[in-house]
Symmetry: D2
C-alpha cells in the first residue's frame, strides 16, 4: 500500500481543514476523505468552521474518524462556509495566522473556489503556512482541472429541472428560456443543454450562438405544435434569460415565451456518485501532497488522473469550453 507508506515518512503532525466560498455538493465527502486519510497517516485533524472568518476567530474543532461518519451523501458542508472581508486585510490575516500558530497547525487543506485559493496564496506569502487546495464549485471554472466538486451534481439537478419544464413546454407549445448558474463560465449551460437536447444554448464563450437563436425562432419553431428550450448561462452577454426573453417577445409576439431562473436549487442536494468518488480521491491526494511536502497547489483531475496545479495557475479562471460539444449541439438540432 504505497499511500500508507508515503504517509509515514512526514514531519507533519497536525493539519487543519476548512470549506470556503459558495457551498457545493460533495464538500462533505471531501471533508470526510481529508480527515480519514490524515488520521490514517497519524496526523491530528482540526476542522475550521465558517471558512477564513472562522480561522480569524479561532472557531476550531478537532475532527475524529467518527465525526465524519454518515456525511458522505449529504449536500452543503458540515464545517459551514462564509465570506470574510476581514481576511482581505493584513490585520485579518495576521490574526488568522496567530490562531493557526496557537493551535500548532502545520498545514491547511482548503476546499473551495478561486477566491479561496487566492486567499491561501496571499497568506502563504506572508506567513509560513502550507496550503493545499481542493477545487469545489458548481461552476467548473478552475484552470488545470477538468473537474471541480459539485459540478456534476449541479448538472444533474439542472437536467432534471429542465426535463420537468419540457413537460410544460411541450404541453403548451411554448419556448422556455432557462437560466443556469456558472458566473463567467458556460460549462453548466453547455453540458446541461446537450443533455437536455436544448434547441439553443447561449454561453459567454461563444458569440455564434446568438445567430442560432435567431434562426431557431424564425425557422425552427415553425408552428404552434412545436416547443423549445433555450439554455442561458447567467454570464452570457445577452444579459440573462429575463432580458433576452423580453427582446424575443417584442420581435415575435406570436410566440408563447416563458422564463425560468433555476437559482439556488443548483447548489444543494445529495451529491452524485462521481462527485462523492472524486471528492474522496482528491481528499486523499491532498493529504498525500502535504505529506510529500507540497504547498500552494491545487489538487485537480485532468483526463481522469490526479494532478497538482500551482495556485497561481489554477486561479486564472478557465473560460475555455469544449468546442466539440458546441459542434455536436448544432448537429443535434438539424
Amino acid at each position: 500500500m504505497k499511500t500508507a507508506e508515503k504517509m509515514n515518512r512526514s514531519a507533519l503532525s497536525r493539519i487543519a481543514l476548512f470549506t470556503s466560498g459558495g457551498d457545493a455538493p460533495g464538500m462533505n465527502a471531501a471533508i470526510r476523505a481529508v480527515t480519514r486519510a490524515a488520521i490514517a497517516a497519524n496526523l491530528e485533524v482540526i476542522g475550521i468552521r465558517r471558512g477564513y472568518q472562522g480561522m480569524i476567530e479561532g472557531d476550531f474543532q478537532p475532527l475524529y474518524a467518527s465525526d465524519v461518519s454518515g456525511i458522505i451523501h449529504l449536500g452543503g458542508t458540515m464545517l459551514r462556509t462564509a465570506r470574510s472581508n476581514a481576511f482581505r486585510t493584513p490585520e485579518g490575516r495576521s490574526r488568522a495566522y496567530e490562531q493557526l500558530k496557537n493551535a500548532a497547525i502545520d498545514a491547511v487543506v482548503v476546499i473551495g473556489g478561486d477566491g479561496s485559493f487566492r486567499g491561501a496564496q496571499e497568506m502563504s506569502q506572508e506567513y509560513p503556512v502550507s496550503f493545499v487546495g481542493i477545487p469545489a464549485t458548481i461552476d467548473n471554472d478552475m484552470y488545470g482541472t477538468d473537474y471541480t466538486i459539485g459540478f456534476e451534481t449541479a448538472l444533474n439537478t439542472v437536467v432534471e429541472a429542465v426535463d420537468k419544464i419540457r413537460d410544460t413546454a411541450r404541453s403548451h407549445g411554448r419556448i422556455f428560456f432557462v437560466e443556469v448558474m456558472g458566473r463567467e463560465a458556460g460549462q453548466l449551460a453547455l453540458h446541461s443543454g446537450i443533455a437536455c437536447g436544448a434547441e439553443v444554448i447561449l454561453i459567454p464563450e461563444s458569440n455564434a450562438e446568438g445567430g442560432k437563436l435567431h434562426d431557431f425562432l424564425k425557422h425552427g419553431y415553425k408552428n404552434k405544435e412545436s416547443s423549445g428550450i433555450v439554455i442561458v448561462a447567467e454570464g452570457d452577454e445577452s444579459g440573462g434569460a429575463m432580458k433576452i426573453a423580453e427582446r424575443v417577445r417584442l420581435d415575435h409576439p406570436e410566440l408563447e415565451v416563458r422564463v425560468s431562473i433555476l437559482g439556488h436549487i443548483q447548489r444543494g442536494g445529495n451529491p452524485t456518485a462521481d462527485d462523492r468518488i472524486n471528492a474522496t480521491r482528491m481528499g486523499v491526494a491532498a493529504i498525500e501532497a502535504l505529506l510529500a511536502g507540497e504547498k500552494n497547489i491545487m489538487i485537480g483531475i485532468a483526463r481522469d488522473k490526479i494532478v497538482q496545479v500551482p495556485f497561481k495557475i489554477a486561479v486564472k479562471l478557465c473560460h475555455r469550453i469544449d468546442e466539440q460539444l458546441l459542434d455536436i449541439q448544432r448537429l443535434m438540432n438539424i
Copy 2:
C-alpha cells in the same frame, strides 16, 4: 362488478375528452383512465387536442386503449393544452359546437381548472352538450374537492427543492425567501412549509403570519449560526418573495438574505403515486357520471370519497385553508 353493469345501460355512444388550462402532472393518468373506462363501457372516445382551441378547430383524434398505454407516469398532457380567446366569443363557441355535432359527440370530459369549467358551463347553457369535469391544477383551489390532480406532485417538487436550498442556507447561515406557485391560494405554500419545517409561511389566507416573520427576524434568527426558510405564496399580499426580501434587507442589513422563485419546475415531472391513483379514480368516476346521465358537474374527492360538485359551485375558488395546519406550524417553531 357494479361499475360495468351501470355502464351498459346508457344511451351514450361516443364521448370526447380534452385537457385545458395550465398543465398539471397526472393529466395523462386521467386521460388514460377516462379512455379505458369509456371503452370498457362500449363507448367510442375522441381526444380533442389543445383544449377549447382544438375544439373550435376540430383538432380531434380517436383514442383506443393502446393509445393511452405507457403514459400513466408521464408529466404534461399528451393531448396538449392551450388558452383560447376565440372560445370566449359566441362565434367561437358556435364553431366549437358545430365541430362536436359533426363528430357526433354526445358528451365531453374536461380535465382542467376553474377557467376550463366556466367555459364548459357557458357552452352547456347555449348548446346541448353534457360536460363532466375532472379538477387538475397544482393550485388545489377548487371548491368542493379536497384534492386536484397535480397538487401532490407539485408539493413534493417544492419540498425536494427546499430540501436542497436548506443545504445552502445552513452552510452559509442565510435566510431564504422561497416563492411557490398557487395563484390566489396558499395551499401549496402552507403544505410545503410544514413539510420542510419552514420557519415562517406567508400566505394570502392569513394576515397573522406577517408578525411571525417580524418576530423570527428579531428574535428567532439570533446569530450567524442559524439559518431560515420563509415560504412565500405567490398570491400573498406582501407582493412576492423579491419585494419582501428587499424590505427585510433594508430593516436587517446584518442578515444574509437570498431569494429563490421556484417557477415552472413546479408544473412538470412524473406524477406521484397518489396523483396517478386519484387521477385514475376520478377518470373512472367521470365516465360513470356521464353514463348515469349527470352533466355540468365536477368530480371531486372529499374526505377520501368520490363526490360530484356542480360546476357553478366548484368554480367559486376556494381560499379556505386548514387553520389547524397554521396552528401546528406555530407549535413547530417554538
Copy 3:
C-alpha cells in the same frame, strides 16, 4: 390558539418518547413534532433509544427543541429501533417500569406498529404508565386509521422502481413479477399496482386475481411485442414472486419471465411531503391526547381527520382493502 390553551391545564410534567419495530420514513418527523409540541406545553421530553430494549436498559436522553432540528426530511429514526425479547417477559417489563419511574416519566409516546402497541397495552395493564401510540409502518395495516407513517413514501419508492423496471420490460418484451413488502397486507401492492398501471396485482385479500393472471398470460400477452408487470404482495398465498414465476415458466416456456424482489429499499429514503405533514399532525395530536388525560390509544387519521383508536382495536390488523380500487384496476386492463 386552542391547542396551547389545552396544553396548559395538564398535570403532566415529563414524557418519554421512542420508536419501535421496523423503521419507517417519517418517524423522525414524528419525533420532532412530539418533542416540540411537548415543549410548547411546558413538558420535559426524554428520548428512549432502541425501543423497548432501551427502555429496559435505561438508554435515555433528554430532547430539546434544537435536538430535533434538521431531521424532518431524514429517513430512519434518530432514536433508533430494535426488537426486544426481554420485554416479552414479566422481568423485562418490570425493569422497564423501574427505569421509567426512576426517570420520573409520567407518560410515553410510542411510534411504531402493532407489535409495539401490544407491548404498550400489556405494560399499561401491569403498571401505571400512560401510553399513546402513533402508527408508523410501511404496511398500512392498522385498524381504525386510513394512514400509517411511511406508507406513502414506500409507495412512491415502489412506483419509481417499477417505472424503471418497465423500461427494461418494454425494451425486451418481458413479463416481470415484482414483489413488494406489506406482510399480511396487500395495501402497498394494490396502490403501487394501480399507480404503475400493472397488468395484474396479486394480493392476499383477493382470490380472484389468480384467474386474472391466467387470462393475461393466455390472451393479454399476445406476442413478443408486449410486456407486462405483475405486482405480487409478499403475503400473497401464491408464495411470493419467485415461486409464481417458476410456475409460469413451466406453463409458458415461450415467455421471457423475470423476477424482482424490491426488498429493503422500500423502508428507507427521505419521507414524502404527506408523510412529513401527517407525522407532524399525529405527533401534535399525541401530545394533545396525553394532556387531555387519554391513554392506551393510537392516534389515527380517518377520512382525513385525526381520530383516537383504543390499542386493543388498532392491533387487530386490518386486511380490508378498497374493493373499488380492485374494480378500477380491472377496468384499466381491458
Copy 4:
C-alpha cells in the same frame, strides 16, 4: 465545422442502426445522436427493431429527425432489444445479410455489449457489411474504453438505493449485504461502494477483500450501536450476497444480518446527464467513423477522449479495476 465537412465526402448513402443485448439507460440518447448525425451528413437511416432477431426478420423502420425527438431522457430503447439464437447459426446470418442487402444498407451501427460486437465481427467476416459499435452496458466491462453507456446511471441508482438501505441499517444496527450487478466485473460494486462509504466491497478482481470482511466483522462492528454496508459484486467468488450472508450468520449469530439484491432497477431509469452527453458524443463519432471508411471498430472514450478500438480487442472483457480506488477504500475505513 469540420465534422460536417468530413461528412460530405463519403460514398455512404444509407445506414442501419440497432440496439442489442441487455438494455442500458442512454441507449435512446445514442439512437438520437446516430440518427441526427447521419441525417446531417445526408445519409438515410433505417432503425432495426429487436436487435439481430429483427435484422433476420427484416423488422426495419426508417428513422427521421423527428422520430428521435423527445427520447434523449428516456430509459430503455425505442428500437427494443432481444437475444437471438438464430443469428448464431450460419443460416441466420445469411438471412440477416439478405435483409440488409434488400434494404440497400451499406453500413450498420450496433449499440450494445461484447456479445453484440462478437456477432458483428462474425458477420463482417462472412459478408461485406461495415459495422461500427457503441458500447452500452451497465457493467462497464469493455476493453479499450473507460466508459460504457448506462454505467453512470446504474451507479447512481445503486448509490441512491444504498443511501436508503443505510437509513434502516443505522436505525436497527444491522449489517446489510447488498448485491449489485456487473456480471464478471466489479466496476459497479467498487464505484458504488466508495460513493456510499461501504465498510467492505467484495469484487471478483481482488481476493484481499475477504480478509477485510473478516476483520470488519470481528473488530469494526464492535457493538449494537454500529451498522455496516457490504457491497457484493454478483460475480464475486463468494457466491453472491445470499450465500455470504448465510455463512456470516453461522459464524456471527450475534449480528443482525440482512440481504438486499438490487436486481433489475439497476437497468432502468432516466439516464444521468453524463450518460446522455457521452451517448451523444459517441453517436456522432460512430457516424464520423463510418464516413471515414472505418469498420469493425468500437467507439470508446479513454481519458475523456473519443477513441476507436477494433472489435477483436474490445470484446476481451476488461476485468481490471482501478487499484487506487481499492487503496482509497481501505483508507476510508480506518
